[in-house]
């Protein structure tokens, strides 16, 4: 059970949106995390490696800096079923690059550009995830 947190959700979502807007303003790129992280892997198609590397370091540092400076405790419940998490990681990594985007690239930036491809992609991964959770929690 997790609590519905409307204010924190709207605030955090606005920060995510602001980051995406500023990345477009700064260097004209989509803030899609799978594209940014996947672009760190060779072979390289452009010279944006330092930008992508910086963005990923920032993402990783976020909870640590938040804890250090605010003393906030970050609650997180991650499954410790290692084979399940390996399978999940393979599917998420493969599917997000193969489909040209994930929750951020298609879900946030693509929907904001009113991209038809991103609308189809977002509806597809949402549907697949709803069905998966339904099967795991209520059927199996």
């Amino acid at each position: 059970m997790t609590e519905f947190t409307p204010i924190a959700s709207l605030l955090g979502g606005a920060m995510i949106g602001l980051s995406a807007v500023l990345l477009m303003l700064w260097e004209g790129r989509i803030a899609g995390i799978s594209g940014i992280a996947g672009g760190l892997l060779p072979p390289y198609r452009d010279n944006a490696f330092p930008s992508r590397f910086g963005f990923v370091i920032g993402l990783m540092a976020a909870p640590l800096l938040l804890m250090y400076f605010t003393g906030a405790e970050i609650t997180q419940t991650v499954s410790s079923n290692v084979p399940l998490m390996i399978a999940a990681g393979l599917l998420v990594g493969f599917g997000s690059i193969y489909g040209n985007g994930c929750t951020s690239g298609h879900g946030v930036c693509g929907l904001s550009r009113l991209s038809g491809r991103s609308m189809v992609a977002t509806a597809t991964f949402m549907a697949a995830a709803f069905v998966t959770v339904f099967l795991v929690r209520h059927v199996i």
Binding site: S9, A14, S19, I30, A37, A61, L84, G101, A121
Partner: protein, 143 residues
């Protein structure tokens, strides 16, 4: 310079994920569990992010060019091909199993949970396989 700007923007994005609770797979899985302990938070996170990005992009894309780099790198494709269905379908199954998509998984590294340490290397391997496949079969860049 771009490294530093991106580091700050990654930090802002990551703090947004943590503040909104989206770095916690339990919250994501409860959003995806319509017929169980449903937590609608994720819908508000995406809605809020889309609203800000929609408005912000309209302002930014009125410019001739971004501050650095000369041109906006926007995905040009408009057609619905098989990959824009199969990729997200595969991604969605993994997201439903683990509760992590790429952004939250990266923010979770420093918290060091066992599941995260299993998920992240596998995610990178999965990305690399798809990346090499795309390289063998060239298409416009991933967004």
């Amino acid at each position: 310079m771009s490294f530093l700007v991106n580091l700050l923007l990654g930090l802002l994005f990551g703090i947004g994920l943590v503040v909104s609770g989206m770095s916690d797979p339990a919250k994501v899985l409860n959003f995806l569990d319509l017929f169980g302990s449903w937590d609608p938070s994720l819908a508000l996170v995406i809605g809020s992010a889309v609203l800000i990005t929609f408005l912000g992009y309209r302002l930014v894309l009125k410019r001739d060019a971004p501050i650095v780099g000369g041109t906006f790198h926007l995905p040009a494709r408009k057609d619905i091909d098989a990959r824009v269905l199969t990729g997200p379908a595969i991604f969605g199954v993994g997201w439903g199993l683990g509760g992590f998509c790429p952004g939250p998984a990266l923010t979770a590294l420093g918290l060091g949970a066992t599941g995260t340490l299993a998920f992240l290397p596998a995610m990178i391997v999965g990305m690399w396989i798809a990346h090499l496949l795309a390289r063998a079969n060239p298409r416009p860049r991933t967004i």
